[in-house]
Amino acid sequence: MSSPTSLVRVTIVATAIGLIAAACSSGGSDSSSPSGASGSAAAPSGEITFLVSSTPTVDNLIKLIPDFTAQTGIKVNVANIDYDAMTQKETLDLRSKTGQYDAFWVEGTFLPRYVGQLNGLEPIAEYATSQGVDLPTSDLASTLVDNFSVDGTLYAMPFENTLMMSAVRDDIYQQGGLQPATTLPDYLSNVQALNDPPTVYGTEIMGQQGEPVFYEWVNWLWGEGGDLFDSAGTPTLDTPEAIKATDDLLTLAKSAPAGVANYSWDQAATSFATGQVSTAVLFSDQTPGLLDPSNSKVIGKWSYVPFPGDKATAFGGYAWAMNASSSNKPATLAFIKWATSAEVSKQLVPDGSSPPQTSVQTDATLQAKYPWLKAEAEASSRAIVPIKNTAYFDLVDALSTDLNAALTGSMTPDEAMADAQSKWEEILASQ
């Protein structure tokens, strides 16, 4: 049995060790309790790790990180991996609550899973408020905020827009005496008129099974006056508008390179950048590839125009989310605030980044210098997220398989849409 004296000695030694350990620990800015730190005067510090998948804009942001470290002293480790591997690691980390990564690069489509099912993301706006940090959410379009919110709570700060717009070759349109289309029939007739293979194709489409063909098609669905669901939330894929939209894709494919049924966004952007096609619907995050002299043969020869009609166009966008299990939330918040600031966005714009901030999109000086920003600002005003549902991937997989089957001729548009309708009804009924 220990004597009282030895107990006191042990207590003193343990306390001393604890104090030394606390003094030596990096960071010193814990954050397990979001509410408790608002009064803390200590600046965020330490080390954080963020998980990301490479895009030109992300790569350019990574180059700016030394500036952030110089300003704040926060060391940032970057785990830059393949997109599929990234989403798997995010899911595994959020499920296991290990906090291996402090910040994630996310798309809105994953939020129902990350928040609704895994409950793994910190509500970033609420956390920032609790820390006395002001996040510039008022500078973001409401659709962007909605995209990264669940039940009205913002979980991720938008970093880059992915708006869908028509990219046209100004020189080819000029030679052909054509104007970029403002209606869907004109769009179809333009691409047919400009189709002159193998010199140049009228268009290309993202026909690959999965998200590519779904996003390509949904703009045509809206353009034809249809929608994915009715007001009661019932799928409306077997409507005349949906069948017409599918038929439009088949018409476009006739004026496109032979392999478009297998084209993803990368191939679509590459075929436009290499001067193979006169018209394409691209995501705005593909702009850097069109501006890169080592890849693009169309520099100075193209522009973005709004997708024909005045209907909605699809968009997604990338954002930074904070892991609720992060061991250094103040430093993570500081990084996210910096990475999503208008100042950083302005530095990324010259290389083709699609800024999420309205102030940057509509900046007259920037618009004069980088004309695609004006088209992006217009596209932002009617951009909507096609589906927000935990079954998003099942729904997209089912529909895109049928769309791809229609494109490859193994189904007619009517058959494809009837099949997709029954699959969607089944998926939604099983929820």
Partner: protein, 317 residues
Amino acid sequence: MNQILKRGAPARSGRRSFVARHKEALSGLAFIAPAAGFLIIVMGYPIVYLVLHSFNKENFANPDAGATFIGLGNYASLLQNHEFWQSTRTTALIVVFAVALEFLLGLLLALLLQRVLAGRRVLIALMLIPSMMMPIAVGLMWRYMLDDTYGMVSYYLSRLGLTGTDGLVKGSILGTSHSALAAIVVTDVWEWTPFMALILLAGLQSLPTDPFEAAAVDGASLWQEFRHVTMPLLRPAVTVALLIRIADAMRILDIVFSMTNGGPANATQTTQLYTYRTGFEQFNIGLAFAQVVLVVSATIVVCALIFRQVAGDRVAR
């Protein structure tokens, strides 16, 4: 009492004699027990875990929903699932055509290499390069070679009139169901034929010379020698080569993933890709585990049948 002793005595003596008689075997067992126990834990635990969870309705990304025991529900659901059967059919087609072609070409290469004396080692080293490459890199390489716009292979196929509006393949190679499947078979054959050839060459070089000398004395033609001497003697090597390649081809994923990602319209989606999607995109772990159990069981059955069939009576005994 005496009777009891008499009855008991032989029994005790029997136990002693059993230990004495099997002392060597028992001590051997004692020595391998730690390693065997380790292997059982390392290999057995994941398999038991996998099988047990295949009876659950369980989504990894939805922990709140928990795991619900549904018995054979996942298996029943799979057997009624069109996509699962379609992917099984696709896998079977790839295995049959790819392994058959690899075997025929590999055997031909092995027979040719056996007759090459100068530079054989260099040839073998060069030949093995495809098999040394990562399958995902091989898939990407072939995807670009078959690309309609930039692909060298596509270019020559269209020049030969095999692709294009009037060709055998109307659309793009990877964008048309049958040609995409054929492209995957060709890619697999390109990568694994050298491996098959190497195993068969090793088998050919280890054959005894006496039967060939006897066949020559009897005046056997080259074909008769091949049919009645070489092939029967080569059976063990053929068995090993086929078993390895069939088991491997049934697990094909990387090449498909990088070349077509299962498209167009799921025409090239294999069981492994379907399982990957179920497990790592939908995180439907219970269903994915059931798929793994079914595919592994099918692989074992197919390999056992091939083993008995190809290895012949010697193995059956």
